[in-house]
Symmetry: C2
Subunit: 460 residues, 2 copies
């Protein structure tokens, strides 16, 4: 129990006595957005249902179900328009075999390790690969090695995320390049496969997948996989005891031909400037090894929540507001590019886009393009702060809305609290039970608040 | 995955170019506090062990184990002094029977409901109590009822926590009085027992206990119990269908004689003003129906973490810093009172006390006594903000340190993000797995930062 002498936090109404009427009205509107979302919002229940449909990587059966389900939610809301936008997407499948085990000189060392293929990896072939292991802790270390010490071996990038950062995205930014480009670098030195320590802030036995890319056309494509952080610790310990041990890995993943899928879109038409379009979005695809609850089922359901909240509170936005559930963010970003291409071909005027793709956690603020940031900060910085949105910073948005930028659209990203995100990110542990109903709804309310301000006042 | 175009959040070092040397030194110290805690801190592992010792309500075997374990942690840290402070505590026990079921006119309505006794409740007697149920939604509603409509019945307070509040403690503040005083009010109208909807922000089948008080000496003491929120919904639905149904409840709880227990205390002696004492604390007791991970194992382990962090970073505080693990916050607050009494009898000069008793979640700021708040805000508000501690507000502290106030000690409380707290509070679901390692450590680092500032500069 906590003392009932509670902290008094001033709410907007009591602090706005000498502030212009419009700000007072905005304060009331943003309060209403929060109340409506917290009390009546359905995004948490929608997310439960979405996560129950099964994995939804681009091209999968689950992704088709997710498209249909998401459209069906918006169909029932009473929006002005709901539609599917076709887009060709890559179709990578994990296959039914993923195994790793240590073959050491002492039987005691021979244990299975939890691993998963990285998205886009080639297969090991049916027989798998058995080879000695070279453990490295940076690209620098690999670069300095002699080819003969790497040739024919498996390179093991054992690079923990740096826990010292306050924001875990900074640690992810430093470490993700090993996952994305590690296989190429290892192949260049003659390695036959690459395994890495999962990009995770947690020490557990879940392997974290994620996209890898073959961009070097001069070297063979070798398999890339992630060990759970616990498996990485075990392999490292085994290597200290027996540097010549072999690792056997077997993965039957493959890339199939592209297939058609869809962005799912719904909109409320603006009452005064319908041709100025605001996008609020997330991505509907998710890695195939989990439920994609935080990444990014949360962002999708929050985006639809913005529309539901506006309808429920009786707010008719002056500008058009669209919720866009993008397909294929994880391994191709095709949905985002196709959306921008179509928008350009129709000569649509997108003035602002915001994406939620950092988990359904308590919102702390936004990353915002600098021109708009200055204005938001000056006019509404303290108002947003009174709703817990203190961190208004420059830049930082989701992958999907990026392509709109070249058409002059200003961008923003929701920045939720980042502490738990990389415990679950791209892992089997990213399940619905990891999402808190109030945190999810507050994220939606935060986005709705910013969308409201842009819908009312535009970006100029 | 998220864009690697990450939000740039300016860290203290880069913003302090034209700021006095002392602030730059403080910024470096607070950065070091955070890094040391996040990378080397042991509080998460300590909490795992503490939660494994079993329930630790005052007077229980688990509470004795917790005292011994907490002392053993501090004994190994190399503190200047570690000791136990005896305190007599109440000894309420739940007993081995807790049951509730509906007896309706149709067999279909006859279902078991999940309930638990409130702490301090009298027993129902071995036979239990079977009576009709009066559902009310406020004290007002009960007050307006005629005694004959309540006499011989069970009063059922079905008062949900108001989800519209941004901070869940506000909703708790509104609703807790039904748990604390509801039995007395029901008894005054002639009821034979009181059950209430658990004080919880979640809809699930965990009952949430908590203290209740018999303060009206003119009315019989009747049993008080909490239904899970799901059970409350079911009972309410059943009452709509069959208003004359009976509820049978049976609870064999009882209050035994007081026993001796201990506050556990460890300190680092100040280098310059050792007689000025700073307390950082939490409470070691926890409700008996769960592991007390967030309430308040987290606050205890964070308090010891503050000392470990100072030692690990080589910081020798100018003033004495004490970690105090108080006993009996939940049902008597005897530990807090005894600590203040002894401090007074020894003529100790306590200048500042801070408590963590709102869960091990990401810290958002502090509630601080107003004199100190003004100074902290003016000198270090922006520095603390750069570590995510934006919400510096007046008042708000834990129950245990309250008694120090009358001896002139300034008080503060850590304010973590409150969204998840009341999902778990006083319930079987308040278990170790609900605590995130980084969030817990950041809370400790936040307290250490404020303690550092007071240890360096005092409170005048």
């Amino acid at each position: 129990m906590r003392s009932l002498l509670l902290t008094v936090i001033l709410l907007p109404l009591s602090t706005q006595a000498q502030i212009p009427t419009s700000v007072r009205a905005d304060s009331l509107a943003i309060r209403s957005i929060h109340t409506t979302t917290l009390v009546q919002g359905d995004c948490y229940d929608w997310l439960r249902d979405l996560c129950a449909l099964g994995p939804r990587l681009s091209g999968s059966v689950g992704s088709e179900k997710a498209v249909a389900y998401t459209k069906s939610i918006m169909d029932t809301l009473g929006l002005d328009r709901v539609w599917l936008q076709p887009v060709m997407v890559p179709h990578w499948v994990r296959g039914d075999q993923e195994q790793a085990h240590i073959i050491g000189r002492r039987p005691l060392l021979n244990e299975s390790l939890t691993l998963c293929a990285l998205g886009g990896s080639v297969s090991t072939g049916d027989d798998g690969i058995s080879a000695q292991v070279v453990e490295v802790h940076s690209y620098d270390e690999l670069r300095k090695m002699k080819p003969k010490d790497v040739e024919g071996k498996i390179v093991f990038f054992n690079v923990p995320m740096n826990q010292a950062h306050l924001r875990t995205f900074h640690a992810y930014g430093e470490t993700a390049r090993y996952r994305v480009f590690g296989a190429d670098s290892a192949s260049k030195k003659g390695a036959v496969a690459m395994v890495l320590r999962s990009l995770s802030t947690s020490l557990d036995d879940y392997p974290h997948t994620g996209v890898m890319v073959y961009r070097d056309t001069t070297v063979p494509h070798i398999p890339g996989a992630a060990l759970s952080t616990v498996a990485a610790e075990r392999l490292s310990a085994a290597l200290r005891e027996d540097p010549k041990l072999k690792l056997h890995i077997r993965m039957t993943c493959e890339t199939l031909p592209d297939v058609v899928s869809y962005n799912v879109i719904g909109e409320i038409r603006g009452t005064e400037k319908p041709d100025e379009i605001i996008v609020v979005g997330g991505h509907l695809d998710a890695w195939d090894n989990g439920a994609g609850a935080h990444d990014d089922g949360a962002g999708c359901m929050q985006s639809i929540q913005v529309l539901q909240t506006f309808l429920d509170m009786g707010y008719a936005p002056k500008r058009t507001v669209r919720a866009v559930m993008y397909m294929n963010e994880e391994n191709g970003a095709r949905g985002g590019r196709e959306y921008a291409r179509v928008a350009d071909s129709l000569d649509e005027n997108h003035i602002f886009a915001i994406e939620s793709d950092a988990g359904g956690f308590t919102p702390r603020g936004f990353g915002i393009d600098s021109v708009l940031l200055v204005r938001i900060n000056a006019n509404w910085g303290s108002l947003l702060g009174s709703f817990g949105l203190h961190e208004l910073t420059e830049g930082g948005h989701g992958v999907d809305i990026g392509p709109l930028k070249e058409h002059g659209c200003l961008l923003a990203g929701l920045n939720p609290d980042s502490q738990r995100y990389f415990d679950y990110h791209h892992a089997p542990s990213d399940t619905f039970d990891k999402v808190n109903h109030r945190e999810l709804k507050l994220g939606a309310a935060a986005m709705a608040s910013l969308v409201y301000l842009v819908a009312e006042y535009g970006v100029k």
